[in-house]
Subunit: 341 residues, 2 copies
């Protein structure tokens, strides 16, 4: 098999503050044939996620930073078009971390087969994938959710938040969530079935809005946003409440550090637990997650929305949309046709 | 037995910002004879503690607020001078929450006998009492301390901090602590035996000072102070570190809420756990605490300092000293002679 020409998106410059399209470049590169034990994948879907912003800074973290001039990385679903691995066959649909490019070569054991009959394959980048698993581990293990408790979720219509909301509803909880538009709030109440959605852009005082929505207080707060959301959560937490810290998207593009909540002293008086987590530290829960999530999807308990940008060249736009509320539900990039073989 | 005249300290006005002597008043009151099942206690020692500042605000919390014109409350050690209870006899030394007064009547089951032969009786207000128990529960249960870890303690020479430091040393840990004077730092290193004491008033950048003292990072932070101390701790925490939130004395007298740490996002990236606690929720650990602490004291592993104000009239001064660093170790008020009977 001769080399294929593959478009890929590279980091051109480290963004300062809000990322710009000029921080990225689309380039063509030649991908050689897979070597021994390797496979050639043609990507079909790729994911953009808020955590990627962190990897654009040049600093030590739980994953190494992206390198200038190198292709970005991230979750992708593709089809195997050539295989020298006995783990994966031509035609298999696989998940990899080799997104932001049309073709990729990987070792057979670096990719995971996905069942294209269980759900639309792009669901493995959202509800059935890393965001869904993040919601599951964060809410149930880190947040120690008990049936029937009151849950507050920020960015509730996002890829993670929407799953958090619906797991909580499946567990018989009272669920309050925030989103940045009336459409998203409507979806949360009418489709996802949560008890009260708050448009944080128009509600006025968020602390008061949460108090009104959950007058008995919050047992578990699922944090995706930071800033005023965290202040409102702390103010409304019940004694022994838990705060599962998944992210703080409101601060990812800050050029100077933002002060934290001015009511953190509630941690003491209310005996609260605040715990940050990274989904990869909870992969022991994967079998439970797949079992429960498949069941809930089958029972119609989990709905999701997708926003799709078409073509690898649009991946930077898709990523930028994460920070402007331009997405509704899971933000995806369609890299190529479903059937690659 | 005829009535006794007892001086008591009352809250005259709710302090605004830093409490002033004028916020308190000393008054005389007549204490009647104990009724059925009751005892009359003559207080010998009383405790002042930072948490009392919180009870001077008129707000809902885990304990009700102090009332204007009523005597304050707090830990005290006294001797029983009259008893109609079969639980406690005349001459017994007892601990109660009826401090800030010379005499008090209590139900027999509301007071706890203390063993005057095991330690100086005032130790039951410090190392062998609530502050010691706070250190024990906070460090071992909330902080989940493991032998050999690195511990950072703020207000390390205080009544709670000094016990935290020495329990950690007894567990083979590397211990860094802060205090507000060179004398206190010297005591921490030379008497309490910690590895590095930092004078936070003269060290310059606290985050850098902690990094220098504990270059491998912190596993457990015991929080008594808040503000820059918390920022420095978060910056230096190791992945999966724990922050045991006991208090934030730097903020108790704030008239407007102080912003929180500007690096709280480390909670996510480092998978940190921050947990607030109230000692009374951990009283199931009391037998373990008494057993371990008595043993450590016997082995010479736990030292403590006391600062004593003489006479019930000086109790407000003693309390104020907590916020100005005017105490060294446990701040006590000697209310009356050791032998009351």
């Amino acid at each position: 098999m001769s080399n294929v020409v593959s478009k890929e998106v590279r980091l051109k410059a480290r963004p300062e503050g809000m990322p710009k399209l000029e921080d990225f470049e689309v380039a063509e590169t030649e991908i050689g044939a897979p070597g021994d034990g390797e496979v050639l994948i043609r990507n079909i879907w790729m994911s953009v996620d808020p955590y990627m912003r962190g990897r654009m800074y040049d600093r030590e973290s739980y994953v190494p930073p992206f390198q200038i001039g190198a292709p970005l990385e991230g979750g992708a679903i593709g089809q195997v078009v050539a295989s020298n691995s006995d783990k994966v066959a031509v035609g298999d649909y696989v998940q990899s971390m080799l997104g932001w490019r049309e073709y990729a070569v990987a070792k057979g054991e670096e990719v995971q087969k996905v069942d294209e009959n269980a759900a639309p394959i792009q669901a493995y980048l959202g509800t059935l994938g890393m965001p869904g698993m993040t919601a599951y581990a964060g809410l149930l293990r880190v947040g120690e959710l008990k049936d029937g408790e009151t849950v507050f979720v920020s960015a509730a219509s996002g890829a993670v938040g929407a799953v958090v909301c619906q797991i909580a509803k499946a567990k018989g909880c009272f669920v309050v969530g925030t989103a940045g538009s009336d459409d998203k709030c409507k979806w949360l109440e009418e489709t996802a079935g949560i008890d009260k959605a708050i448009n944080y852009k128009t509600c006025g005082n968020l602390t008061e809005a949460v108090r009104e929505a959950a007058p008995k207080g919050i047992d578990v707060y699922f944090e995706n946003v930071g800033g005023e959301h965290l202040v409102a959560a702390l103010e409304n937490m019940r004694p022994f409440g838990r705060l599962a810290m998944c992210g703080m998207i409101s601060q990812y593009n800050d050029t100077t550090p933002t002060p934290g909540p001015n009511n953190l002293i509630y941690m003491v008086g209310k005996s609260l637990k605040m715990q940050g987590f990274i989904v990869s530290n909870h992969f022991d829960l994967l079998p439970d997650f797949i079992r429960d999530m498949s069941q809930w999807i089958k029972e119609g308990k989990i709905k999701w929305e997708e926003t799709v940008e078409d073509g690898i060249e649009r991946a930077p736009n898709a990523f930028l949309n994460l920070f402007t509320g331009g997405n509704f539900g899971k933000m995806l990039v369609k890299v190529g046709p479903d059937k690659a073989v």
